[in-house]
């Protein structure tokens, strides 16, 4: 083991720091999300995107109910905590009263696609100038891995133990594709955080979504596929592969709509 290098302190020889622990808009490094969770990775990119568009001092976030909710208290932008499903409506009220701000929502798939499906659809249809971010892992992580409206066929969850069966449980909703069809949606994309390249691509999507809002083009939406090894009952190290192969084969990654952009 003699070739293990010291990593507890910055290098003593001349070197340039190219990336730090956390985005500036995060107040603390610690959080209580599970090992291998994809949500903090997506949230890092969201905060970096806010910094990239220079909206640190005029951003208001609306947070739904899910594992990421606890993470929210450590984000250094103004926040409104909404109920399960209601974030797009709450964001609508925020944006209408504070049109000069950058308004984003953060919801999980249970929050957005189960409980609040009509709210996000109507918000998109109205072309509301907000950016809705979906952290999609196909399960209710916080309750312990139950089936959601985005769980893919064959996926095992606590209430689809033999795998989601179309005849019994119905089909998953591809929410990004659904929202992209609406006239009020100016930008829609689906990213993933299963590897470094995907994380970087997701960061670009988030930035484009925020830019869409800044330009007043309409509703913008980014869905981020995230790992939930705890809710999927698999080892953390297998999370990225599972996300890519199982979820990513149905919820296909890529930009879904880019209206009048650039």
């Amino acid at each position: 083991m003699s070739d293990i290098l010291p990593t507890s302190a910055p290098p003593s020889v001349p070197a340039k720091k190219i990336a730090g622990f956390k985005p500036d808009l995060l107040m603390k490094e610690n959080h209580n999300l599970c090992p291998g969770c994809g949500e903090p990775v997506a949230l890092r990119k969201l905060l970096e995107a806010i910094e990239a568009v220079g909206a640190q001092e005029r951003t208001i976030g609306v947070i739904g109910i899910g594992c990421y909710t606890s993470f929210g208290s450590g984000i250094d932008v103004d926040l409104v905590q909404a109920l399960h499903g209601r974030a797009p409506s709450v964001a609508t009220g925020v944006k209408r009263m504070r049109p000069e701000t950058l308004v984003f929502t953060l919801q999980g798939d249970g929050d957005m696609v189960n409980e609040g499906l009509q709210e996000v659809i109507h918000t998109a249809a109205r072309g509301e100038s907000v950016t809705c971010v979906l952290l999609n892992n196909g399960v209710f992580g916080e309750t312990g891995g139950h089936m959601t409206a985005t769980t893919v066929l064959g996926q095992r969850t606590k209430n689809s133990l033999e795998g989601r069966d179309a005849g019994y449980h119905g089909y998953p909703i591809l929410i990004g594709d659904l929202l992209a069809q609406l006239e009020g949606t100016a930008y829609a994309a689906r990213g993933s955080v299963h590897d470094a390249a995907s994380v970087m691509a997701t960061g670009r999507m988030l930035r484009r979504a925020l830019e869409t809002q800044e330009k007043g083009l309409g509703f913008s939406f980014v869905e981020v596929l995230t790992m939930c090894p705890t809710g999927w009952f698999i080892p953390t190290a297998e999370g990225p592969d599972y996300l890519d192969k199982v979820m990513g084969s149905v919820h296909t990654v890529g930009e879904l709509k880019r209206k009048a952009h650039d």
């Binding site: 103004d78 409104v80 409506s89 009263m97």
Partner: protein
């Protein structure tokens, strides 16, 4: 001349806007619809926004967001629609947001819903029950002041008659004592400073980096106790020498007040107590009137809901009888046979002469 003849709904919308309301969201439902129309017509020209929401759930969510920014905002519906909004009301109250809510109810069957906190958890709304359009205008303006003063939702309990009768009203904005600054509201400007804000129903303080539900609960309960001490409003009439006191609220209270005046003119010793705040309930006024008269009748347009509060106020010191009942028409808007001075008089005379069905 400052009085104008206006439909109650229109007057309430104008009064709200005169009080600084800049956001409204609602979903059409009779007899609430005209209030929504009033806001839709007048808010844009006042620099505000009125959204014809796709459901009551969305309406309350939008109002929630608007009020979180520090704007004066309101939503409403009939009791049916408010049932859909209750989950949000619970959270909005716990987030200490000054939302104003209009219940243009179909009758008085929503008394429990309004005063007990129709949703989950321990909470109360200040509930104001106007008897006519002028009072509806005044209570609408007061509602925005009370909501901001206490950082607590205020609900206005109206009905079909309040909504649809045209009356002479004066909408001149009232002035109130200075309010505390809204230093809790989100405007985005503190991002990245380490001082950014969070509006939440969980007792989260960003500095503490955790939730404090017990601290939040204690603070809310202490606030609600102070509201109970300071915000009781009630109208009483002829209670000093009454042999029977009739308790009624809202439009029904207006019928009772009118009929009691007529009966007094005819030499009958009846009095009335009309709670203007349903919560906090004017227990002391009810108790004093009951002790003086020795008999209490409650006339409400339901199977007996406010009568619980009357009995709690009277604490067995006088018999309390229900002389109301449902009063509906074919349309279900709560305008039925009981809403008639002759019918109201019949009920009160029954209680006065026979003692009624005192339980």
């Amino acid at each position: 001349m400052t009085r104008r003849l206006m439909e109650g709904s229109e007057a309430m919308a104008e009064a709200a806007i005169a009080a600084g309301c800049r956001f409204f969201a609602g979903y059409p439902m009779t007899p609430f619809t005209e209030l929504l129309e009033g806001f839709a017509k007048r808010l844009p020209e006042s620099g505000g926004a009125c959204i014809n929401a796709e459901s009551e759930l969305e309406a309350v969510g939008m109002a929630w967001g608007a009020v979180a920014t520090g704007a004066r905002a309101a939503t409403g519906s009939t009791g049916q629609g408010l049932s859909l909004m209750q989950e949000s009301f619970s959270e909005i109250t716990r987030a200490e947001l000054p939302l104003v809510i209009f219940n243009m109810a179909r009758g008085q069957g929503d008394y429990y819903q309004s005063t007990r906190g129709g949703g989950h958890g321990d909470y109360r709304h200040i509930v104001l029950a106007p008897a006519d359009a002028q009072e509806a205008v005044e209570l609408t303006q007061l509602a925005f002041d009370l909501a901001d003063r206490w950082r607590n939702p205020v609900l206005i309990y109206g009905d079909y008659l309040i909504a649809h009768a045209n009356e002479s009203v004066d909408i001149t904005p009232r002035t109130y004592p200075p309010l505390p600054p809204k230093d809790w509201a989100v405007d985005g400007t503190l991002g990245g400073s380490g001082e950014s804000r969070t509006v939440n129903p969980l007792g989260v303080d960003k500095k503490s980096l955790g939730i404090d539900p017990e601290g939040l609960w204690n603070r809310l309960q202490e606030k609600h106790e102070r509201i109970e001490c300071e915000e009781v409003r009630v109208e009483t009439g002829f209670t000093e020498d009454a042999e029977l006191v009739v308790v009624a609220f809202g439009s029904v209270g207006r019928f009772v007040r009118h009929v009691v005046r007529e009966m007094r003119a005819d030499g009958l010793k009846v009095g009335f107590v009309r709670p203007i705040t349903l919560w906090p309930f004017p227990s002391e006024a009810v108790a004093a009137a009951a002790h003086a008269a020795g008999r209490v009748a409650v006339l409400e347009q339901n199977a007996g809901q406010m009568i619980d509060d009357v009995r709690l106020a009277v604490l067995g010191a006088a018999p309390v009888v229900a002389i109301g009942g449902i009063s509906t028409d074919r349309s279900g808007f709560g305008v039925g046979d009981l809403l008639n001075p002759a019918a109201v008089r019949g009920r009160i005379e029954g209680a006065l002469s026979t003692g009624g069905n005192f339980r």
